[in-house]
């Protein structure tokens, strides 16, 4: 879409007003997924497989159904028939198979049946009366083991066109890209380093577990309230899984206590609706934390081989990587994105990357902030760091020397438009953190990170009230402060105070389709749509003023919240404020609203550079991050406090991923640590103050220059922290998380 209305001077954008949901959140008035109730409501509970891989021979639900408190029991037979297709073409089938197992249980925690009863306790008790006869099958939970020819086959026929015939059926997608001649490039290098790296699966760790309340009548009409990052995808998917018309299911998104990509699909929502259809009463399901860990999507785990060649002056001559990602028992692990992001910060003549999507007997992976990119950065930036150390080169100077700029041919193909990587590196070099002395036992790490960002289908509606206040309806659940950002952008166009605009996340019956709040798209795409919808309203307001004054429409312009004559020849009229036009709108042509619907294409990629200082306890192997600075290109920060919050949040989650968080599977194929006691996310006392620097290199694809900021902030931390820990420990850390036992083992191996 052509943008002929770019704006770079602002009155409201860039200020830091109070958040609109602040009082609701601190008083407990905000309604999250589990806060919705209905008269006659039943409680649902889900029976889950204790086996990593097993054929379901028989399910007998008769004893559970005989209980007076039990009003419905469902199994796979209660869902629609959905055709199977290989790869991601079969994603609806994949989601159904994950929501409720078919012939086989595919991982520890896989849903096999569900109950609706008059209380949550009665529902859980009834699960114990469901008899499932399993035939246990061999299983595999490790990505490299799953690719070996002797690995148990999880599902034949799941591989798409991209996978060579001689690969194991567990390999379901393959991506290969790059340019130049890497072998020639390596031959030019003074030093070539080849190394291998691993990252473990981590959960998004949102504090609010999945929760929903669903009702579905035998007439195929239903309502659903749930916590989600995107209620239109919930509507579409549930309709497909239950065999009803999409428009007959109205979905309302609750407040959301974190998502980070993990709430971009469905788990319990179709189950609640299937139970409701059978029981003819509303059904509420709330996951326990253990269920969240066992049965919702963690990120993919990765095994990676990297080779980079460098000249003595720091010029990178060639780079190649192989990225093997497991995403549970379904296609979808982002091997392709991992490969495409891996070398994106560099201007490379010779680059080659291959990514694999591999199935294992684990839960279906879900997106987690810039899916694939953090792992890739960990592996690549570790090797670049090692080259700098061996060649005694400054890590920022080397990155500047090889940095991607406007016009650089990206490692994934096309040339970059205007990007801000160099600006983040220059800001890092100039930051006091980079020059600060380190104490003995401490190490400093640097890393760059990259993410694509996204646009997506977007609809926005803006309705003016008679008193001049504005209701703005968007369809993207607010996971990062978007209500504040939308109000600021609307205020900027309308010229009225931020406080006069109320932003609501509309339900699926009130607005056109909206893609999920993912891909760092909301401030970009819903923001662009908000600006356009506000301009649509301004056009209509100006028309009313023109009619009142009896002058042509094009003789009116909009300034500081008022219609004014466009010049001396247009006539001599006092400015007409918005509220004076809306006060009469019922009598001057009817209600005034603004609308915009589009799929904006121009999200603009983004880069970040992080600086980390870490300290390693040589006796326990415990790591403390003592100083952290995030520098990222935001294009234009609409509400800088929220942008800084995104930067800090990415760093905090990255610290958890780098140091402690991991899915641990036992020999029995079961998840060993399905709770926050044994799966350790960072708490406030684990974190230093995370300093932030907002770089603003405007995105040409947005009227105000916005680039998404939600995901790029988690791309550099794994690598930056690993580089800091490696420097502090004096040994290269190749396996995340760098938990105390793993770091201690590395220290011992170094000394041995």
């Amino acid at each position: 879409m052509a943008l002929d209305d770019s704006k770079r001077e602002f009155r409201f954008v860039g200020t830091r007003p109070d958040r609109p949901d602040g009082l609701d959140k601190v008083t407990g008035r905000a309604r999250f997924g589990a806060d919705m109730n209905a008269a006659g409501m039943l409680h649902g509970a889900i029976l889950r497989s204790p086996h990593a891989h097993a054929r379901i021979v028989r399910i007998d639900t008769s004893k559970a159904e005989a209980l007076a408190d039990v009003k419905a029991v469902v199994t796979r037979a209660d869902f629609a028939e959905v055709p199977f297709k290989p790869g991601l073409a079969g994603e609806v089938w994949n989601v159904l198979e994950n929501v409720m197992a078919g012939d086989k249980a595919l991982y520890d925690g896989h849903a096999v049946a569900a109950v609706a009863a008059t209380s949550a306790l009665a529902a859980r008790d009834a699960l114990k009366l469901i008899e499932v006869e399993y035939e246990e099958l061999p299983y595999v939970t490790d990505v490299n083991a799953a690719m070996r020819q002797d690995a148990p086959v999880i599902r034949e026929g799941a591989a798409d066109f991209s996978v060579p015939d001689d690969m194991h059926p567990n390999v379901v997608r393959r991506h290969e890209s790059g340019h130049g001649d890497v072998e020639a490039g390596f031959a030019e290098a003074d030093l070539v380093i080849e190394d291998s790296f691993e990252t473990e699966a981590t959960h998004q760790g949102y504090i609010e577990p999945h929760a929903c309340l669903g009702q579905l009548g035998k007439d195929g009409k239903g309502e659903l309230w749930c916590c989600t990052q995107g209620h239109w995808i919930v509507q579409k998917t549930c309709a497909a899984l239950l065999g009803i018309e999409t428009a007959n299911l109205r979905v309302t998104a609750s407040e959301i206590g974190g998502g980070f990509g993990g709430k971009t699909t469905v788990f319990i929502e179709p189950v609640a609706l299937a139970l409701s259809r059978k029981a003819n009463r509303p059904v509420k399901i709330v996951m326990s934390r253990a269920e969240v860990f066992r049965a919702t999507g963690p990120t993919a785990s990765a095994s990676m081989d990297i080779k980079v060649g460098m000249k003595k002056d720091g010029t990178i001559t060639a780079a190649q990587g192989e990225f093997r990602l497991q995403g549970g028992a379904f296609p979808g692990a982002p091997g392709d994105m991992t490969a495409m992001c891996a070398f994106a910060p560099y201007d490379l003549k010779n680059v080659h990357q291959v990514g694999y999507d591999v199935m294992t007997n684990r839960p279906k992976q879900a997106a987690y902030r810039a899916p694939g990119s953090p792992m890739a950065a960990f592996a690549v930036e570790s090797v670049v760091d090692e080259l700098c150390r061996k060649l005694d080169l400054d890590p920022i100077e080397v990155r500047l020397k090889n940095a991607a700029r406007e016009g650089t041919k990206a490692s994934y193909g096309p040339r970059f438009e205007r990007i801000g990587l160099v600006e983040t590196l220059e800001a890092a070099k100039a930051h006091p953190h980079y020059a600060a002395p380190l104490k003995p036992g401490q190490g400093r790490g640097i890393s760059c990170g990259f993410w694509f960002n996204h646009g997506g289908e977007t609809s926005v509606s803006l309705a003016l009230s008679e008193d001049g206040s504005v209701q703005l309806m968007v369809g993207t659940p607010d996971i990062g402060g978007s209500r504040a950002s939308m109000a600021l952008m609307a205020a900027e166009v309308l010229g009225i105070p931020y406080e006069n605009i109320r932003v609501t996340i509309a339900d699926t019956a009130s607005l056109g389709y909206n893609d999920v709040s993912h891909g760092s798209r909301v401030t970009y795409a819903s923001g662009l749509a908000t600006i356009k919808a506000a301009k649509d309203a301004v056009r209509k307001l100006s028309q009313r003023a023109a009619a009142k004054w009896g002058i042509p429409e094009d003789a009116v312009k909009w300034e500081d919240g008022c219609a004014v004559p466009s010049g001396p020849n247009a006539g001599d009229f006092d400015p007409l404020p918005l509220a004076e036009i809306t006060a009469e709108m019922g009598q001057t042509g009817g209600p005034i609203s603004g609308h915009f619907e589009a799929t904006p294409e121009g999200a603009g990629v983004s880069f970040a550079t992080h600086i980390v200082d870490a300290e390693v306890d040589r006796e326990t192997g415990a790591t403390k991050v003592v100083r952290y600075t995030v520098i990222q290109d935001a294009g234009k920060a609409i509400h800088p406090t929220y942008v800084e919050g995104q930067f800090q949040g990415g760093a905090a989650q990255g610290i958890g991923w780098a140091l402690n968080e991991e899915y641990i599977y036992g020999e029995d194929g079961r998840l060993q640590n399905a709770g926050f006691l044994d799966y350790r996310i960072p708490v406030a006392s684990d974190l230093p103050m995370i300093d932030t620097v907002i770089v603003e290199v405007p995105n040409p694809g947005h009227p105000f220059g916005v680039r998404g900021v939600g995901e790029t902030s988690i791309c550099p931390p794994l690598a930056a922290i690993a580089n800091a820990v490696s420097a502090a420990a004096g040994v290269r850390m190749r396996h995340l998380p760098m938990s105390p036992p793993r770091t201690l083992a590395a220290l011992k191996a170094r000394d041995a």
Binding site: F161, H175, G261, M340, G519, E601
Partner: protein, 81 residues
Amino acid sequence: MPEVHLWSGLRGLADGKESVEVEAGTVGELLDALVRAHPALQEAIDAGVSVAIDGRIIAGSLTEPVPEGSEVYLMQRLRGG
């Protein structure tokens, strides 16, 4: 005619070619023309692709114009979290 560059994983489906010239004014026409020239690309395109036109990434819109002489790259369909 725009020249469409393929990621290397696709070249086996297009007689080993790194790029294909097609007659097209929009992204949708471009994808249709690619499949006409190399039918084996159908599955890859159905599975989802994004297109970069002179560096600007078009995630999924088929109606975006493809200017004469532009540099076009086919990309794996982008997904986010």
